[in-house]
Amino acid sequence: METTLSVQIVYQRPRSLTAVPMHYCPGCTHGIAHRLIAEVIDELGIRERTIGVAPVGCSVFAYNYFDCDFVEAAHGRAPAMATGIKRLLPDRVVFTYQGDGDLASIGMGEIIHAAGRGENITVFFINNAIYGMTSGQMAPTTLPGQKTTSSPQGRDVETMGYPLRMAELLANLDGAGYVVRRSLHDPKNIRMAKKAIRLAFETQLRGLGFAMVELLSTCSTNWGLSPLESLRWLEEHMIPYYPIGDFKVAEALQAIKV
């Protein structure tokens, strides 16, 4: 009797990711987001015409990890920089990758106007409710009562205002073609996130305007929790405030099955 052993590859690094080890803290979900985006770029076969725009934040070195062209923006200005690139190179696929401080604080003007103009770019918005890179200050998405190093008694909405729900806010703009929120805290949600990333690129490929996927993310280092506890914290605290859902899906996208 003979047995044949066949070797099957079930998991490997996407073509669009480089072999460079990531500098993110252990358990950080930035890495998952990177991987999903790279997988979709591979699946769409657009690696060679994709240009990424990195933010200032923990993902400042994102350009080291994606095997496609990349630029590095000033803090918050990624949508403006992406606009400049897209206007000169309309047939390229341009995406930004931004944190909550970058997109919703210092870059609020840039993101609103990019969405308002219906700028045909794709935005990945990593909402981890904190400033990761500068070690844990309050972000515009920090939850009420959440302690950070610049809201040491917890975010008091009376003086520090309310967290911003960026997906809901941007979905209101006529220029937006696709605006959704997903989460990275478990396999089911990660699969849903990947589909949304796919649709966000499809939006751009079909010229349907501004697309953004908000990805709820963890920062165990600055939340002061273990990676596992962080995933739980995200599920228990962030999702009630930031519901997962589709806030704007252009009609032409609704037929697409991914």
């Binding site: 500098h23 803290c25 890179m133």
Partner: protein, 185 residues
């Protein structure tokens, strides 16, 4: 007269705190002192170091190329700083985490199993105080008593329950250093 001490190791080994204890002791002894850390993202999961300078006059540079005393709590720190110790200076190495001996004849090297001593005292995290005790015993700049008093006086209230263990660790490090012979193992 100026004495420079560099303490290096992994982030989380208590490198910065050990330097601060020394700085407090120097301040309380009426000396001029500077404490300066390596800072920024290179600290994330990587290595950390700080430099303490103790002097009897206004201190110029807070960083020096060739410190008189070095504590290396891991191998990368040993490799990086052993060649830089000022001739005649003191090098304290956490031998629990390095797999080689001394490479210098012109300095006094103390290889101390600081992690193991700390564990035998009940807490691995005391290794920084064990190593600091060894350095203080060998470097004629501050007495062990001065350093212990600084710890008593400046340990934050919320950490007071660890005071006795930290004092013991300083003692253990000092007596180990005094019990070993001159020059590397």
């Amino acid at each position: 007269m100026q004495t420079e001490i560099l303490i290096a190791g992994f982030g989380g080994q208590g490198v910065l705190f050990a330097g601060q204890v020394l700085a407090y002791a120097a301040m309380d002894a009426g000396c001029e002192v500077t404490w300066i850390p390596s800072y920024g993202p290179e600290m994330r999961g990587g290595t950390a170091n700080c430099t303490v300078i103790i002097s009897d006059e206004e201190i110029g540079s807070p960083l020096v190329l060739n410190p008189r005393g070095v504590i290396a709590l891991n191998l990368p720190s040993l490799d990086k700083y052993e060649p830089l110790v000022k001739p005649g200076g003191v090098l304290v190495v956490n031998s629990s985490l390095v797999n080689r001996g001394s490479r210098r004849e012109d300095i006094e090297s103390v290889f101390i199993p600081a992690s193991e001593i700390a564990e035998s005292l009940g807490n691995r995290r005391l290794l920084n105080m064990v190593a600091l005790g060894a350095l203080v015993a060998k470097l004629p700049v501050l007495s062990l008593d001065q350093v212990k008093r600084a710890l008593e006086d400046h340990l934050p209230e919320r950490h007071k329950q660890f005071l006795q263990a930290n004092l013991q660790a300083l003692d253990a490090g000092a007596s180990f250093a005094l019990s070993v012979s001159r020059v590397g193992v």
